[in-house]
């Protein structure tokens, strides 16, 4: 893509002043300001008053990148990585504290569906209101009015106040207005999280067409499949910094591996406060009993959990496992209460709990395994993401082909049959 740069971000930074004294309140009360002043007046010299500590917090720091015309860029990162701050600066809601952004062309940002919708107003009035808020002129809205109404499928309710709309209709109308903006640059935040699956699909389709029309799109989402489907380039943010800038698949891989590494690394920190640290070590072994990180597709593995209860004795030791997929979230779970071991586990205070799988029913990809240890019905310890398990492609079907990982994480191995009827 050889379009010229339409967004140029140089050394962008945004800082917020946070007060340690009143972390939960963002605004000041006049009462407090006045009493502080009075206290200051009445205080005698010599006694120094500890000022409320304030500190600059950089939500975004030294971020630089260019976006060329027609590019569709996905912005990803964990919560607090600075995605929203970046979008807020690009859409001018807040000013940068450092650096600069240069933009060519009209920007429309969609940080929320239905911003400014008023329940008392009719669908028709809200279309004009919302359109104006999103930056359309009255003439433009008039020109596209019929299209908007058709897309939202609310023809019959145009003159009904939107407070009588079903939530589905409300969202459809709101998205329809936004979808018919004709900006050169479209900034979209996690707005697709609303609405039913069918509608989400239509929205994605609409955005795809916007992108195909040569317009530039910046897209933030936690729905990684949507990012993968829509964008060609990715920006990965981590704690206010630009960590990676490259093709979508490259950046998504970097993101999921950083997630799992971080999870594995932070495993001991990720323990909930109630957990008693019994789990000392978690090992993954392949079917030959060798320690590994990679398991071949369709093959089995063994998970060993080393526990040390110190003085505590587990009367009825319980082991639980939850398998998480990097995109789909938790996908499977089992424990020794629902599927008891062949012979009941005896009380112990330290030892090794082992789970053996003859075959893992998952397709190639990266999985995180949470380990749970309990005593009877009581949970004692858990290590979320204790184990990173990579399932690598293998000729599991003997056909030289592997399953599609885009169709979900479950490995299916059916026996087919055909019966001819004349």
């Amino acid at each position: 893509m050889s379009g010229q740069a339409v967004i140029s971000v140089e050394n962008l930074g945004k800082s917020y002043r946070i007060s340690h004294q009143a972390e939960h309140q963002r605004y000041v009360a006049l009462r407090d300001v006045l009493t502080d002043k009075l206290k200051g007046l009445s205080r005698f010299r010599g006694r120094r008053h500890a000022r409320p500590l304030t500190e600059d917090f950089w939500a975004l720091k030294d971020v630089s990148f260019d976006v060329r015309q027609g590019e569709v860029v996905g912005i990803i990162g964990r919560n607090g990585a600075g995605k929203s701050t970046l979008l807020k600066i690009l859409s001018r809601i807040t000013e940068p504290s450092k650096g600069r952004v240069r933009i060519k062309g009209r920007v429309a940002s969609l940080l929320e569906v239905g911003t400014g919708f008023h329940p008392e107003l009719t669908g028709r009035e809200n279309i004009f209101l919302n359109g104006a808020i999103l930056g359309m002129t009255r003439a433009e809205i008039k020109r596209r009015f019929d299209e908007i109404v058709a897309f939202a499928e609310v023809e019959r309710f145009l003159d009904t106040p939107v407070k009588h709309y079903s939530s589905g209709m409300y969202v459809r109308l709101a998205f329809a207005v936004a979808a018919h903006l004709e900006p050169e640059i479209l900034i979209v935040d996690e707005v697709l999280a609303v609405g039913d699956a069918e509608f989400q699909k239509r929205c994605l389709g609409k955005m795809q067409r916007v992108a195909d029309g040569g317009r530039t799109v910046l897209f933030v989402s936690h729905q990684l499949p949507a990012v993968r489907a829509l964008t060609t380039r990715g920006l990965l943010l981590g704690v206010g910094k630009l960590v990676r800038d490259g093709s979508t698949s490259e950046v998504l891989n970097a993101y999921s591996s950083s997630l799992s590494e971080q999870n594995a690394h932070e495993a001991s920190h990720a323990r909930p406060s109630w957990a008693i640290p019994l789990i000392k070590r978690v090992l993954l072994k392949d079917k030959h009993g060798d320690e590994t990180k990679h398991i071949a597709l369709g093959s089995g593995c063994t998970i060993e959990v080393v526990i040390d209860g110190m003085q505590r004795r587990l009367k009825k030791p319980v082991l639980g496992l939850v398998v998480n997929h990097s995109m789909h979230g938790p996908i499977a779970g089992v424990n020794t209460r629902m599927k008891p071991p062949g012979s009941p586990w005896q009380p112990l205070s330290s030892g090794i709990l082992t789970a053996t799988f003859r075959e893992l029913p998952f397709v190639q990809g990266r999985y995180l395994i949470d380990i749970w240890v309990g005593d009877g019905s009581r949970d004692l310890d858990t290590l979320p993401g204790a184990l990173v398990l990579e399932i690598v492609p293998d000729d599991v079907y003997g056909s030289g082909m592997i399953p599609f990982d885009t169709h979900g994480p479950v490995l299916l191995r059916p026996d087919w049959q055909i019966e001819a009827r004349c």
């Binding site: 010229q4 807020k88 000013e95 952004v101 060519k104 940002s109 107003l121 104006a132 808020i133």
Partner: protein, 292 residues
Amino acid sequence: MIASSSEIARDLQEPVFDLTLEPGSAEKHYWLDLWRYRELFIILAMRDISVRYKQTVIGAGWALIQPVLTMVIMTIVFGKVAGLHSDGAAPYPVMVFAAMLPWMFFSSALSSASQSMIGNANLISKVYFPRLIIPASSVVTSFADFVVSLLLLIGLMSWYRFPPSWNLLALPVFIGIAFLAALGLGLFITALNVKYRDFRYVIPFLIQFGLYATPVGFSSTVIREKLGEKFFLLYSLNPMVGVIDGFRWAILGKNSPIDIRSFYLSLLVVALFLGLGISYFRKTEQGFADII
């Protein structure tokens, strides 16, 4: 220094950007932006007006009942009970109503402007536009009520067979001053209200207090007669004194001569508040999205 050919080529292609965002950049195009967003301003004002008249069952009736009842009470309390005199030969109710118009507009503009930013918090944190639009459009909304009660004044004047003079042609000027007075103080209070969230408890009191510090139920000449010339000039520091005297001069004609010094004084205070309001609002505006 020798630039490589590719660098030169890149320099030639250096794109032209039409918007630069950097610390303090919003300040530069402030008034231009305000002009660009004029349609949004109109639509927001229309929204507030249409919601206001849809929500109350009596709709426009409310804009009529409120000033009429207040006018009746004030006529009884100040005209009958306290026995204060009217301006010249003007009927007391007409004199009161001529002041009720700008006062009700002023007070409702102040209270709705001060609530407007918090009422539109979701807009402010999700979309960019010059924030000045929000309190300004709520002042316009109060202006709609003002127009409705203006019709009422016409009815009242024909009821009392009190014909207007040519002075009435100057009324738009005083309406303009009333508008600027409401906008200036409104912006100031709005900004304070976003910054200090407990300031809103002070506003109803300020308005209540203002009603008695303003010659609504009585003529401003009463103040001069009873409290002296010096106090009257001090009294004129209340910007609404000049506005109300102007309204009465325009509506009641020669019955209500205007004191030009006091009028200029009020005008000066209006200008001062307008400047102060706009500059304070703009100073705090940048942070609104971060603190609201």
